[in-house]
Assembly symmetry: C2
DNA sequence: TTGTAGGCGTTATCAC
DNA sequence: GTGATAACGCCTACAA
């Protein structure tokens, strides 16, 4: 029912080849005939078939974003950045949401064949060596956001430093009993962000002659609910912490709830530091480690598009700047 | 570099046609040869080319979701629902984020050709009659979520009723001076949700011998910041309202900030009602009109997939249940 | 049950 | 500059 390149050719009295040249605005076509062809295209409301193009050129004009639970606030923020740069290109955005190992493997299996996407953006998810090899073999460009691999370019926040910054902030306020609420790494996704942040905290504490004691280290699955439980346990300790660093703002919300449950006043009784600086953080006055999520998406997408346009694919690592945003959930420890 | 159906055929000692039959598990193939072919497929790590399939079958195995600013919390929630049902199907999820009229028109123009997506999910965006005609002509299935068109099946919240419910809640608490903070419809997207809710409020107020006065009707672009400004103006009125119904929870956040700015206590001095019941609403104790966003996405996707599987495409309308969730931002008006 | 052949709508490589 | 012609990799009658 839809018209093809041949219909156009016939009505314009030229060959399909010429129409193709017009479409792809090749310089080698007479202005007269070009005008004529364009007219017919307009009359017929012709659009070249994307499928046929894919098969013929071997390019899909789409990039795949694969990420565990793309509806997490931090990922959404990154997606905003990604979408923002893709919209001004010819690339479509195909989202592969992976919640399980099977889904993750399945997606990467499909995607490494190269006929579904020209490039991949892996967000918060690291590929295995084998997968990287297949990507290279298939000539598929790939950039990591919030994940790392020595052979791939990646955009990361400096998590160790982030952890240090959070701890340093509390230390500078006079805290000595500092705890961490973190996310258990979903091992299959290979992103140790939460672990690295705790390591950073540890380093900073040690530099001050302190330590991150096991009883002050609470780790569980991501999300507000679990963080609330973890924090409640912390508050019930015989010698509870006076400051808590969380692996995300979402977790910090849970910790705030736990404080409320326990009848603790923030920051008078306990200081709480988040991570990410989501919009909600500014609304709530949450002290947090700001991570440029939006920018990470932008940069990831930009670098990927650059590679797709023939740019170098040699691994590069972009480390994003972090900073503590001091608001009203942190203050001096109780006397 | 990647192996094709012919490679498989050759090594298995059969024809390409047979391999194709195996892939698409046609019943008409000898168990023995099938086994042999499958073995070769495994050995070669063969995967059929999606591009070739698309061209040959005319189906893309992908569904397009087009929506204005897909990173809005309410849309994200709907996407969760959509993604949830698509993941168990063979359909890919292609996101078309449209921020401007041009982008909207461009996306719909591409998508109505039928070689980019088998089906469309339009979220918070209504197509024109012309676009609907082209969809039908191209045989492209389409379901609307949070939008309406008489010829398309759609999933909507009952906005008029939602407005009534919000107003009724405040009325029942004794409020008489009730204002609305709404979103100016981005006309090009054809979704009058905010307007409908205000109409509902109006109806309910009238039923109580009251009215929704123009000075109590503040409308502006969506988002927290603008809502804050609008509410500030409301609070500066000589006779300010004692209750405010917002078109979204996000707007309600802005209104809460404005109240804080004005030194008003909530709900003692002013009651605030949101709309949507985002997760943040429960965290903040925001009274709101709960709208099943996640379910709307699920249902939209389910109905679409159903149509794609040969189900009926005659327009159907699914109206989602709304309910007021009473929390701590609403109470009796000041005496 | 299996092989053959034509077609899906483009692009690209040739000659002319 | 333009027109044939051969891919691209798969599917699907139709024949055998």
């Amino acid at each position: 029912l839809a018209s093809t390149i041949h219909d156009v050719a016939r009505l314009a009295g030229v060959s399909a080849g010429t129409v193709s040249r017009v479409i792809n605005n090749s310089p080698r076509v007479d202005p007269q005939t070009r005008a004529r062809v364009l007219q017919v295209i307009e009359d017929l409301d012709f659009r070249p078939s994307a499928s046929a193009r894919r098969l013929s050129t071997g390019r899909t004009h789409s990039i795949g974003v694969v990420t565990p639970t793309f509806t997490r606030p931090s990922v959404v923020e990154r997606l905003r950045g990604i979408s923002g740069v893709l919209v001004s290109t010819e690339y479509e955005l195909v989202v592969y949401n992976v919640e399980t190992i099977e889904q993750r493997d399945h997606a990467l299996d499909l995607l490494t064949r190269g006929d579904r996407a020209d490039g991949l953006l892996l967000v918060g998810l690291g590929p295995t060596d084998g997968e990287v090899a297949r990507l290279e073999q298939g000539g598929i460009a790939c950039v990591l956001v919030d994940a790392e691999h020595r052979r791939l370019t990646s955009i990361v926040g400096d998590d160790v430093t982030g952890g240090r910054l959070a701890a340093r902030h509390l230390l500078s306020l006079g805290h000595r009993k500092i705890a961490a609420v973190g996310e258990s790494p979903r091992e299959t996704f290979n992103t140790p962000a939460s672990v690295l942040r705790q390591r950073g905290m540890e380093l900073e504490l040690r530099a001050h002659g302190l330590d991150l004691y096991p009883q002050y280290t609470a780790v569980g699955e991501q999300g507000r609910g679990r963080a609330r439980e973890l924090a409640s346990e912390l508050f019930e300790l015989p010698d509870p912490p006076t400051g808590i660093c969380c692996a995300s703002d979402v977790q910090a919300l849970g910790v705030l709830e736990a404080a409320r449950d326990a009848g603790l006043s923030v920051p008078r009784d306990v200081s709480i530091v988040g991570y990410d600086d989501l919009e909600i953080a500014s609304y709530l006055g949450l002290t947090t480690v700001r991570q440029p999520l939006f920018e990470s998406g932008m940069q990831g997408a930009s670098l990927l598009v650059e590679q797709l346009n023939g740019g170098s694919r040699s691994p590069r690592q972009e480390v994003l700047k972090l900073e503590v945003v001091e608001r009203s959930t942190s203050g001096p420890p109780p006397a």
